[in-house]
Subunit: 434 residues, 2 copies
């Protein structure tokens, strides 16, 4: 048997604790697969005295991740600290610089510094592996990086944040408000006390930035992503969508079009028959459209200590077997700057819900403003399939447009608001037809 | 850049033709990812003069796959001939013996000789790679072999045959008979002139045998699989299932239970809400239940030249990068003989449809025979939700049982038939609850 793979783990929270326990429990299985023992030689965490869910090992304790990262004899540094800079960035940089492989679950770190870290890993001929960073229990990184190399990818769309999908699912199935469902998510530990990072779409955007780079060979560019969250979605919107044969999901979408790579995170109406529409609760899912594959969909747990730790173990066994691909599939130096497509150029159908004053001419004015910009309406409905829009003093109206552009829709809505028939900013969902 | 990876391709049919074309089209991309040129140095096919969908290359022509397999200077032999023995077995054996990596799409070969070929590959320190052999466009082999190494797999269930799923989908959506849908599948090229291999469940069984070995670390054992096809499924069965909230799918299922590894291929009633129930047409899908992952589902194209060729390319790039895992994840010598679970021991719910003579005592007799064996009925229905059972002179009755065993159900049905109230052999579907 070859030399042991000597592992250092920084961060012993939920994922780190499970990782240690699973490496202990599956030690023989993992050596059979890799021909090497996966040996934990060092750990680091904030609180040394805390009780942890695994048997104590013979590993050394390090007071800082930076010290662990450069400890003599280490082969792999596992970063489970989190945070896009600070100790995570410093320790990962130190490990790579010292020629140690790195496995990380840190999506923020990668979304922020992915290109620079990948270059550093390549310069030092070591791995930078991050299966755990996106949709923890769904092997989407390996699938994009290794499984689909024969196919040209045209589009990725994913439910990448379990908190948002839990809230939207619960609103629909239980008929509760956004606020009620968020509170329940917080009670169950699915949402943080400050939920902005999740419900504002930022977590999804970090993950999308990583997937986009892998799928399109572009440098990670999180600033290119148009981001909207789920905070303004009402139960009535969800009911209206259902009545029209759609579900509302927070999607991260990256697609190649004639202008470049469009990257966006926002609430989306998906046809009920699409695989992503069926994904409920904290589950994650990614659909990949590629020329040789039509559509491939992966559905599984997005988070959770065990699933995330299992993703770290998959990366560790790759390293143990010498499977060290370029972090973003092609050499970092060959990643191209993705041509940013402004959201105004987005083309697709739209769901627009607004509260309209119930007086003569309102419908005609709205329809005219749309027609002036060549926007073709598929339907225009009052109270479509829902009992009432909560708190509406005016009449709720839902428009569904045929394919048009974001710019035209925004222009038309500005004109409609200026006409004075509409009392507040409309709710807008982009529609994905399949 | 490292040496070229010198590839020989045996078989230039649909998949082989696409493979050559895609290797030509993606040559630069693939070298960027692997650091090597993927170079076709030799080909072999039955008919040299046939027109083919790719530009002629500088490769050498070989009259037999066996000659190509041992040609000097070859690194990888790609077997796209098909057949569980004959030239496919001979050429693959020759290639491995001569220290050449092998990539194959041949499920029958692997189901029949997988263990022996894996041993040969390991003895010669070369790859035996077969992503294309199961659900061509779905990276389930890589996922099981590399992505889920951290998780203990407890169950796999899959829609692995596009022909059967096409027929069952079309029966439901179009309201056509099995015979009509089979004829349409044949017209579209989804089914062979002799469709037995597909509709009899044998193709699914070959694929299941391979997945089972990867998932459970057992030697491929296709004789351990209980196999039933879809030939006896009627439109009325499908409608009855729909009325009960189920869809009928031909599944391959392998699961670990207290008796060993149960492997079975048969029509299954799946709850409409399950991801597999939503998979329609020729699409394939696999759900994997694992301790760290709960459930992971992969959905994508099961066949087609491009998707299958892309899977071959994924294997080739793994070989080019030196990613050569054990063919069945652990060393062949460590694969255990799977403990066969006889189908009689299967435990689960059952859908039973029979034609019952409309005379006093029939229902009571049936219910009594079930009760005598401790089989608890969830429901007993006449013509549940369907207009009529075609050709029924007697009354169609559908029973749904709570969880029981195959043996008890078979015993009860034998007794019911002996009672003389039932006119022909009942239709039986096993029920999967999620």
């Amino acid at each position: 048997m070859a030399d042991n793979l000597r592992i250092g783990i920084a961060g012993l929270g939920t994922v780190g604790g499970e990782l240690v326990a699973m490496l202990q429990a599956r030690a023989d299985q993992l050596s059979a697969q890799t021909g090497r023992r996966l040996e934990i030689v060092g750990v680091s965490a904030r609180d040394r005295s805390k009780a942890r869910p695994f048997a104590p090992g013979t590993w050394a304790w390090f007071d800082t991740p930076e010290a662990l990262a450069v400890a003599p004899g280490l082969d792999v540094f596992v970063e489970l600290i989190g945070g896009e800079d600070g100790p995570a960035l410093r320790s990962v940089t130190a490990a790579l610089t010292h020629g140690r492989h790195v496995v990380t679950a840190n999506k923020a770190l990668l979304a922020n510094s992915g290109l620079q870290l990948a270059s550093l890993a390549e310069a030092n001929h070591v791995a930078l592996a991050f299966e755990a960073a996106v949709a923890g229990g769904v092997p989407v990184i390996k699938t994009l990086r290794e499984g689909l190399v024969g196919s040209q990818i045209n589009r990725i769309s994913g439910i990448l944040n379990g908190t948002c999908n839990y809230i939207l699912s619960k609103m629909e199935t239980e008929g509760l408000s956004f606020t009620q469902c968020l509170a329940e998510a917080q009670r169950l530990g699915y949402a943080e006390a400050d939920p902005t990072f999740d419900i504002g779409g930022f977590d999804t955007a970090h993950k999308l930035a990583i997937l986009t780079s892998l799928a399109f060979g572009t440098a990670v560019d999180r600033d290119a992503i148009h981001i909207e969250g789920i905070q303004s979605i009402t139960l009535d919107d969800i009911r209206a969508a259902a009545a029209l044969g759609f579900r509302v999901k927070l999607l991260g979408v990256a697609e190649r079009n004639e202008h470049g790579i469009e990257q966006r995170v926002h609430p989306t109406m998906i046809a009920h028959s699409a695989a992503l529409a069926q994904v409920m609760g904290v589950t994650n899912a990614v659909s990949i459209d590629a020329n040789a594959h039509q559509r491939l969909t992966l559905i599984g747990p997005g988070a959770g200590g065990k699933a995330t730790a299992a993703a770290v173990i998959a990366d560790l066994t790759d390293i143990a077997r010498g499977n060290v691909p370029h972090p973003f599939a092609v050499p970092a130096a060959e990643l191209t700057p993705g041509e940013r497509v402004p959201m105004q150029a987005h083309r697709g159908g739209y769901y627009i819900r607004m509260f309209v004053q119930d007086r003569p001419g309102a419908f005609a004015a709205i329809a005219t403003r749309m027609a002036e910009r060549g926007i073709s309406l598929e339907s225009i409905m009052q109270r479509p399939g829902v009992e009432h829009f909560s708190g509406a003093s005016n009449v709720p109206v839902v428009l569904i447009t045929h394919a048009t552009t974001e710019k035209l829709v925004r222009d038309a809505l500005a004109a409609i608001l200026a006409d004075g028939y509409v009392s507040e900013a409309p709710q807008i969902f982009r529609i994905e037809r399949d």
